[in-house]
Symmetry: C2
DNA sequence: CAGTTAGATGCATATTTTCGCATCTGTGGA
DNA sequence: TCCACAGATGCGAAAATATGCATCTAACTG
């Protein structure tokens, strides 16, 4: 094991916390905890604009919380598990606990289930 | 055990994450992980203005991360342990891990130790 | 009671962030 | 090759933040 010797972790941490400092992005993370989603699914579940959904996902991605797989026209986002920073595991766990019983979070998750699946699985043939 | 049924946790969580989304405040939290501090000790360790130290502490306090004990002229801040939200435990743990080896954080902790103790313990007789 | 000291806060300013609208990009289908 | 659709992004306006300076408050001291 080489010495990673975190030197500039402060900036990284600020970036991570900033990414979690917005209701929309927390709601996005919340639905992604249920299952992988493409942008339009997030948009539907949260009832927000396309641009807003896309930007929220990008921000979370840039902060290292998400993984992105392109499938044809779709961008399939999921919570990063492999290359997640150690401290990010704790942050995400905190978010999960906090939103477990939150009204908005519950509603978003409900809409995600209820909404008809528009994801790449139905349409895209790799 | 009554049903607390966390309903409005989203706002709380956003507030908590916002509080952690600033380098100064993370540095403050970092030194408080070493030991309880009054405002001027934080100011010295971080080499920042009095107003900035005071405001940073207030913000963290309002977010529920800190405990405050007044001792005469001094305000003694410490990390809240008793009444800390469950999810805040994870958030703080994440911060601790991230800053463990960070250069700035190390320097701040070093200055905290080195700095002559101005705290209430020397001065205040309860 | 007046002076001193630690800390809190109002105000003004500079910076950052959010978000809709419109537009651009890239991929797959006809 | 042209069209349609998912998603990314530039831009500008509005809102939220951070922070220094000066000032105010409260508590101990003499």
């Amino acid at each position: 094991m080489h010495l990673t010797a975190g030197r500039l972790d402060m900036r990284e941490l600020v970036k991570s916390c900033k990414a979690l400092s917005d209701e929309t992005r927390l709601r996005v993370l919340n639905v992604l905890m249920e299952r992988d989603c493409c942008v339009s699914e997030v948009r539907q579940a949260l009832q927000i604009s396309q641009a807003r959904a896309s930007r929220s996902l990008s921000t979370l991605y840039d902060a290292g919380f998400l993984r992105l797989r392109r499938r044809g026209l779709w961008s399939l986002y999921s919570i990063e598990k492999e290359n997640l920073q150690e401290y990010s595991v704790d942050l995400i766990e905190g978010v999960r606990k906090a939103l477990k019983d939150d009204e908005t979070a519950l509603l978003d998750r409900h809409r995600l289930e209820g909404g008809k699946r528009l994801g790449p699985d139905q349409v895209c043939k790799p």
